[in-house]
């Protein structure tokens, strides 16, 4: 999958800017506060239909404007086709167009598949379970388009159920919504469980390779349910109903689960050092990328926001080495001077460069790397 071009109109601080990334590595460079992250976010939105950071939709539109638009031209290697993807924001509403035809979110997603890696991700192993559930959900949404519909239905049915609990509605009414929660929830549980099961051995291997010396890593999907069947979830929802009625919310289901990392038998979020956290997250992102490449049978686009400020030189090179072995396209932001980038990244092919300054984007320039650099 290749992003050929992305154009932002009145999005965040851009009036009208175009990113034309290269085949492999592209860098958006400039001082802080110029719009580099906004550009990454715009591309990410086409892939995930949600911003990188939680924000009101209105805030995506440049202040003083009615509309904002993000257009992306994407080449799919599998089919050889180029698709035009467009998101138009107007107030709180959003329209999605695929090849100039309005489509639903489910049909829009998959047009561009991207994995993002931002400084916020470094909090993943430490922060709230919600962030880790979101990681799983985003990974699954890329891999299976129906996951979104299931997750949306689950969310809707749960909000309905919580309202019924608060209203002390009849058991018959609650049972009807419990059945839907059990059906959709079981699908989510199974999808997440399978994903973690598939990912774990690869993640452990990757983590050991990065860490040196690395403690023993264990990864598991920590579920409030032993079994992930519809019946098991239904039984628990029924059993927990009296408690749920008192609390006015649903106490069991995939929305309560967590992805747990353990180092030498202790919880990583309590035990791990700063360096171990970084190694873990780096390994996790790399494995996500590899797995997605396998599922899609072509590499997704990797969006890196300001990573070299967060990872040390050796890890940055490891990251790029892996990315290059996948032959994927990478778009990154950096505050470094452009001439230093090839050395920092250990990059041996040409680099496409665009400078970001106060919401404007300079035309793409090729930065050739004169001689082969030492391999990492």
């Amino acid at each position: 999958m290749r992003l050929l071009q992305a154009q932002f109109t009145d999005f965040r601080n851009f009036v009208d800017a175009t990113v034309t990334p290269g085949e492999s590595l592209s860098a958006l460079v400039g001082p802080n506060g110029q719009g580099k992250t906004n550009a990454i976010e715009a591309i990410y939105m086409v892939a995930a239909l949600r911003p990188l950071r939680a924000v009101q939709r209105r805030a995506l539109i440049r202040s003083g404007c009615q509309n904002a638009a993000i257009k992306a031209q994407v080449h799919h290697e599998q089919t050889g086709l180029v698709h035009d993807l467009e998101i138009v924001f107007r107030g709180k509403t959003r329209r999605l167009l695929r090849d100039a035809k309005e489509v639903s979110a489910i049909d829009f997603l998959g047009g561009l598949v991207a994995v993002s890696f931002t400084p916020d991700d470094l909090q993943l192993a430490k922060g709230s379970p919600e962030a880790r559930r979101r990681f799983l959900d985003r990974a699954l949404l890329n891999a299976r388009p129906t996951y979104l519909r299931r997750a949306l239905r689950y969310g809707k049915a749960m909000r309905d159920r919580n309202r019924l609990l608060q209203q002390q509605a009849s058991d018959e009414e609650l049972t009807a919504f419990d059945s839907i929660l059990a059906e959709e929830g079981s699908y989510i549980l199974r999808a997440r469980g399978e994903y973690v099961h598939r990912l774990a051995p690869k993640l452990i291997e990757r983590f050991q390779a990065i860490g040196q010396p690395a403690p023993n890593l264990a990864v598991r999907y920590a579920s409030s349910l032993g079994e992930h069947t519809v019946e098991a979830l239904m039984d628990r929802l029924t059993a927990n109903r009296p408690v749920d009625r008192r609390r006015g919310s649903t106490s069991v289901g995939p929305h309560r689960d967590d992805l747990v990392f353990e180092l030498d038998g202790a919880l990583a979020k309590e035990r791990a050092s700063q360096g171990q956290h970084r190694a873990l997250i780096l390994a996790l992102k790399l494995v996500e990328l590899e797995d997605l490449t396998e599922t899609l049978q072509e590499p997704p686009i990797l969006l890196l926001d300001d990573m070299s400020s967060e990872l040390d030189a050796a890890r940055t090179r490891q990251l790029f080495h892996c990315v290059q072995s996948l032959q994927g396209q990478v778009i990154l932001t950096s505050t470094h001077q452009p001439e230093h980038l090839p050395t920092i990244l250990g990059h041996r092919r040409e680099l496409v460069l665009q400078r970001v300054h106060a919401g404007t984007m300079s035309p793409a320039e090729q930065l050739f790397v004169p001689q082969p650099l030492e391999s990492p």
């Binding site: 129906t146 519909r149 309905d160 309202r163 509605a169 009414e173 009807a176 059945s179 839907i180």
Partner: protein, 197 residues
């Protein structure tokens, strides 16, 4: 208030009609002249005054028992439960269904404050509890949305103990379509609902 502005405001209350369309409609009405306006006004008043619920199936009708319920050629063993009159009409267009109907006029939607008592579930139960009724199978043809699904499940749990055969309308690929162009969610649903040949 300016009569034209008032007309535009009233027309703007229609679902899916914004100020622009309301203005266009208002000017259209004015251009047509007073006879058209009187016709329109009378049609609106007459419809609202005369149309009510069918005593049996809750379909909209201007007579006590609607045409479908009154039709003796209909199969009294089959009863199809739908959310809206529009759904009944859609099923009628297929000309494949010869049973009777029950219109709920909504679905259970807790977030919108709609409970079972706000839709015609009581009427359905009352109708099915009558001694001389002949229904054998109840087909739940509510929408495949969360609310429609929950409404179907709710009704199913009430009817099964009463000894009725309860079925749910299938969902999957639209007829005459290419699988190629069907959205991913529908294809997934069609695969789940596949049947042995």
């Amino acid at each position: 208030m300016d009569p034209l502005a008032r007309l535009i405001q009233v027309l703007g209350r229609f679902p899916g009609v914004g100020e622009k369309t309301a203005t266009r409609l208002a000017f259209f009405i004015l251009r047509q002249g007073s006879e058209f306006a009187r016709d329109l006004a009378q049609a609106v008043v007459e419809a609202t005054e005369k149309v009510g619920y069918c005593r049996r199936c809750q379909n909209l009708t201007d007579i006590e028992v609607c045409m479908i319920c009154a039709d003796t050629r209909r199969d009294p063993n089959l009863l199809c439960v739908v959310e809206q009159v529009q759904d009944l009409r859609a099923i009628e267009r297929s000309r494949e269904y010869r049973g009777t109907y029950h219109v709920l006029h909504g679905a259970i939607a807790p977030l919108d404050g709609v409970g079972p008592d706000d839709i015609k579930v009581k009427e359905l139960l009352a109708r099915l509890s009558q001694e001389n009724q002949e229904v054998q199978e109840v087909i739940l043809a509510t929408n495949p949305s969360v609310e429609g699904e929950a409404t179907a499940l709710y009704i199913q749990r009430l009817l099964s103990p009463m000894g009725f055969k309860v079925s749910r309308i299938a969902s999957g690929l639209p007829m005459g379509s290419d699988i190629e162009y069907v959205d991913a969610a529908t294809i997934a649903q069609a695969l789940v609902g596949r049947r042995l040949l």
